[in-house]
């Protein structure tokens, strides 16, 4: 038998190094940061942030080159289980950019908190790596690995303030539930694999059509539920508020934007490539989740007095809006739904990060997370006040600010589907936009119309890094709002949809 082994000529798989360059850059960066961190003494730790930032940007370069030169789809690698196409690239770019902004945000937080900066940035890079991989994964296995890769560091980052009870609690809750969820997810995946005989999504998709067996339905539901946890869709959202509130604010920003987006990306990929045949299973399931998510998220957000917690719930309800198009992906609106989700993810990232950036900047002065602490902000920090107005207005979906176009797309997908259930969902969403406006306006009211709580009106001077973050996010929010064409172009995805033969 050994002879037979020897007899077999072994040909190494051809690897498209260019295609996986971003991942490679990140990996290299991770190791670099880790090593340098060993030698660097505490006083110079600040350099870590800069270095991480450069790593992130460095990883963007190959993404860009791929987008420009690459042109055709590169699915030769790992026989189509790991694909680099426009869809993947735009999302990779997004994740890297978000990562960069979060680095900018966390820099001073960590410095002043005297936390373990080196480790933190390493973990963050790892998590981002997971996300970047997620964008390309086309196989249950790689999806799972990417998911864990981005989650596990996130668990730790959530609990980063070791001495702080809240932070611990946040970490533990996130961790336990996260692991539990991925257990459920895996269980579903195992059935999926078992009933279709493959872990490659396209093959699953091919096999999974027509009438489904009970086992397949169970599988589909568990898989969707598993991802639903990541995107904190009601009723799988319970961890989100506690974790968001407990975790350090930059981490919260990271979770509420990056890991949420990653969850959506996973869901998208799985749904579109693997489960599109099972739409009458996950269609209703997602419909209910979307409706619940936006409604519950909004209503609870109305009651919040802590701004981070409020934003947490708001991001829950935003998740509902992002889910909305997926509820009708089966009913002929597949393409517009996909586009809607991607656009939403892109723009939502800017606005939400921006909001967090302002919160961080303000909290540096007020040392409080209460909404009331924003009272009279406009009087002593007009810049931050206006920016916050822009971000919240965008989140509320008011033209011409970012998210309006995303919301428009979402509605468009629903109306496009045209089914009565879609219309019902559209009406629910319409009502929810109003409720949402309610609590966003409450913050704005504090900023513009209320007196300064403690007559302290010393102007706020955020560090340059935060200004930079604010600049990026605000710019994105406004520009994408007025000229959505810029990103909408990336959002029509012939490749992915082509794989579906749509």
């Amino acid at each position: 038998m050994i002879s037979s082994l020897l007899a077999q000529a072994w040909t190494a798989p051809t690897i498209d190094w260019h295609a996986i360059a971003p991942e490679l850059v990140l990996i290299a960066g991770i190791n670099l940061v880790l090593l340098i961190d060993l030698w660097l003494d505490e006083s110079k730790k600040w350099a870590m942030a800069t270095l991480t930032g450069f790593v992130m940007l460095g990883a963007v370069i190959p993404v860009v080159t791929l987008a420009v030169l690459g042109g055709d789809v590169r699915d030769a690698i790992f026989d189509g289980r790991y694909v680099v196409d426009e869809y993947a690239l735009i999302l990779k770019a997004l994740f890297l950019l978000v990562g960069y902004v979060v680095v900018l945000l966390s820099q001073n937080e960590l410095e002043e908190g005297g936390y373990y900066q080196g480790e933190f940035y390493v973990l963050m890079l790892v998590s981002v790596l997971g996300m970047v991989m997620m964008a390309s994964s086309r196989d249950l296995l790689s999806v799972f690995v990417a998911l864990e890769l981005l989650s596990i560091p996130a668990y730790m980052m959530a609990a980063w303030r070791k001495r702080d009870v809240k932070s611990n609690e946040a970490g533990v809750k996130y961790y336990l539930l996260g692991v539990f969820a991925s257990g459920v997810l895996l269980y579903g995946m195992s059935f999926l694999y078992g009933t279709t005989g493959s872990t490659k999504l396209t093959e699953i998709g091919a096999a999974l059509s027509g009438d489904l067996t009970g086992m397949q339905v169970l599988a589909v539901v568990f898989v969707v539920a598993g991802f639903a946890f990541k995107i904190s869709a009601v009723p799988f959202h319970t961890w989100a508020p506690d974790t968001y509130e407990g975790a350090p604010t930059p981490v919260t920003a990271f979770l509420s934007v990056a890991s949420k987006s990653a969850g959506f990306v996973a869901l998208l990929t799985v749904l579109y490539l693997g489960l599109y045949g099972a739409d009458e299973v996950h269609g209703p399931f997602i419909w209910v989740m979307a409706a619940l998510t936006m409604t519950v998220g909004n209503m609870v957000a109305l009651r919040q007095t802590n701004i981070v917690r409020m934003l947490a719930y708001s991001s829950v309800s935003q998740g509902g809006f992002i889910l909305m198009p997926l509820a009708v992906m089966g009913t002929g609106a597949a393409e517009s739904s996909l586009r809607a989700v991607v656009i939403y993810l892109l723009i939502y990232a800017f606005s939400n990060l921006g909001a967090f950036a302002v919160i961080i900047a303000v909290a540096r002065k007020t040392r409080s997370g209460e909404i009331s602490s924003f009272g009279g902000l406009i009087t002593y920090a007009p810049g931050l006040g206006v920016l916050m107005t822009i971000f919240l207005a965008s989140l509320a979906g008011i033209p011409p600010l970012g998210i309006w176009i995303a919301k428009l797309q979402a509605f468009k997908a629903l109306i496009d589907a045209g089914s009565s259930s879609a219309y019902v969902l559209a009406i629910i969403a319409a009502v929810n936009t109003v409720i949402a406006a309610g609590y966003y306006m409450r913050v704005l009211r504090q900023i513009w119309m209320s007196p300064v709580p403690d007559g302290d009106t010393t102007p706020i001077s955020p560090p340059s890094s935060i200004w930079l973050a604010l600049g990026i996010t605000a710019g994105g929010t406004v520009v994408l709002g007025i000229l959505p064409g810029l990103v909408l172009r990336f959002a029509d995805l012939p490749d992915l949809t082509g794989a579906l033969g749509l």
Binding site: R339, W404, A430, G485
Partner: protein, 527 residues
């Protein structure tokens, strides 16, 4: 729709020019209040100048065509273009918005609301101007929606920051109400888009394709738009935000609100809902008519119940917009002409009334009708202006108000497209009775505020008005008559009211061709 592509830059410049001012002001520290006011006035003046130039360049012989037409790509993916144009229907409102903004700016010069901070105040007004002007030139549904919404936030802040005591409640109410309306409106827009084959959002296309949608669908889509626009107008059941918003808003806010913002709703009906969904419009016309007339009577009753001058004027808006909607609901070119005229007239007159109310508040620190009297003795000019505006508002022939009111009533006698004559004639009579109510509450107001002897508590130099309400900052009462700035800001209003009243052709001439064309279209859409 025929178009003329000349001076393509004109509308874009005219609309977005205020933003230049905003940018400028960004770099001026808030402390330099005078500079900000100057920039504000300057910007709006230049904008208005562009508006005048637009008037000069506008080809009045072809006012039914879209002029200065631009159609360039904007969001190609959702097939929405940057399509703008100006025709006889939108020209008056477009120009009005510019002029009103300018005059309000001038008024602001020495009537800055108590909250201070002119920098943001003026910036907001300029942004507001962009939204208003934009909504009137937009020829693309999405573009219209965007401008329509742009107006929202600045107004929210104007009310909420510079408003009266109950401002926060009022502003939030205004915001959520409108938000709700526009959300449903958006759904309706999209439904329309897909029902017309998802080809384009441009008005021209939708007008042709929309008529082909089958009736029931049209009715449903119209319902969505109806809510959206009716909230803005506001029509009877949706009106409750208006009195609060108006009462709480600063004078400038009230004026702009009355003069322009409310018109966005009615304009939407005329420009979008009716021509694009003829059958839906026909089905809804009776409902609109009935609600409009209810609004007329109801608003009047509301006025009679008021003890606060400004709130009374606010309620009168409900009644007047009722006349406008009545004219629209007849679906006759005659009625819609009247409605359009009524919009402008109401804008001028009610705007004027709010100006006066603002100045009264500024001098007496109260608007309690029961405490004001003998204004004619203490401030004769202000008193006469109030009288003039009141007379105009109750639809006295020879003043602008009449031409919005009487033709609307007239048109209700025989509505178009076989709408129930019995119903509309009843409406006509009720509406006519409404005019009596108008006379009642306005004269009643005038008699109690302007006539009689001054209230002793407001004798010159009296301190701390007795029984002063909460809203009285206890200033010394100094009752000076109309100031120079006020004259500058008001005279154009007064002149316009008279000129349009004496020679309505000025406006009818511009609107009529466009409206007739529009009705032709509607007629073609109704089997």
């Amino acid at each position: 729709m025929q178009t003329i592509t000349n001076d393509t830059w004109l509308l874009t410049v005219g609309t977005f020019l205020p933003l230049v001012g905003v940018l400028l002001m960004m770099f001026v520290p808030a402390s330099e209040e005078k500079t900000h006011k100057q920039i504000g006035i300057l910007t709006s003046a230049v904008t208005a100048a562009v508006g005048v130039y637009t008037l000069l360049r506008f080809d009045f012989d072809q006012s039914e065509k879209l002029q200065f037409f631009v159609d360039s790509e904007w969001i190609t993916v959702i097939k929405s273009n940057y399509t703008i144009g100006l025709d006889g229907i939108s020209l008056p409102l477009y120009f009005l918005s510019m002029v009103v903004t300018l005059l309000v700016m001038i008024y602001t010069w020495d009537n800055m609301p108590d909250a201070g901070n002119p920098k943001s105040f003026i910036m907001l007004m300029l942004v507001l101007q962009v939204g208003m002007a934009g909504s009137f030139i937009a020829q693309d549904l999405i573009l219209f929606f965007v401008f329509f919404e742009v107006v929202l936030l600045p107004m929210y802040f104007m009310i909420g920051v510079w408003g009266g005591d109950d401002r926060q409640y009022a502003s939030l109410k205004f915001f959520l109400y409108t938000m709700f309306g526009s959300a449903l409106m958006l759904v309706a827009f999209l439904a329309l888009f897909f029902q017309t084959g998802a080809a384009s959002f441009s008005f021209a296309h939708l007008m042709e394709a929309g008529a082909l949608i089958d009736r029931d669908v049209q009715i449903w889509i119209f319902a969505g738009m109806f809510v959206g626009f009716a909230v803005k107008v506001p029509m009877f059941p949706f009106h409750t935000w208006l009195p609060d918003a108006h009462t709480q808003a600063p004078t400038q806010g009230s004026v702009i609100l009355a003069a322009i913002l409310l018109k966005l709703g009615t304009y939407g009906f005329v420009r979008i809902a009716i021509p694009m969904l003829p059958q839906g419009a026909k089905a809804w016309a009776p409902v609109i008519g009935i609600l409009a007339v209810i609004g007329i009577i109801y608003g009047a009753l509301g006025c009679l119940a008021q003890t606060d001058m400004k709130r009374l004027i606010a309620f009168s808006s409900v009644a007047h917009m009722g006349f406008v909607m009545l004219g629209i609901s007849t679906l006759t070119d005659f009625g819609i002409n009247a409605a359009l005229f009524g919009m402008v007239a109401h804008g001028l007159i009610t705007g004027m009334l709010f100006f006066v109310a603002g100045s009264v508040k500024h001098r007496y620190h109260t608007l309690e009708i029961s405490r004001l009297s003998g204004m004619l003795i203490q401030m004769p000019r202000l008193g006469w202006i109030l009288g003039f505006a009141a007379m105009a508002s109750l639809g006295l022939p020879g003043l602008a108000g009449f031409w919005g009111e009487f033709p609307a009533i007239l048109s209700a006698y025989n509505p178009n497209f076989g709408l129930s004559e019995a119903l509309f004639r009843t409406l006509m009579v009720v509406a006519a009775i409404g005019t009596v109510f108008a006379a009642a509450y306005l004269l009643w107001l005038y008699q109690r505020t302007a006539f009689g002897r001054p209230n002793p508590e407001f004798e010159q130099g009296a301190h701390h008005p007795v029984g002063a309400g909460v809203n009285d900052e206890h200033h010394d009462v100094d009752l000076h008559d109309v100031t120079k700035i006020e004259w500058i800001a008001w005279t154009p209003f007064l002149i316009a009211i008279v000129v349009f009243g004496v020679y309505p052709q000025l406006m009818f001439g511009v609107m009529d061709p466009a409206v007739s064309l529009l009705i032709e279209r509607v007629g073609a859409g109704i089997p």
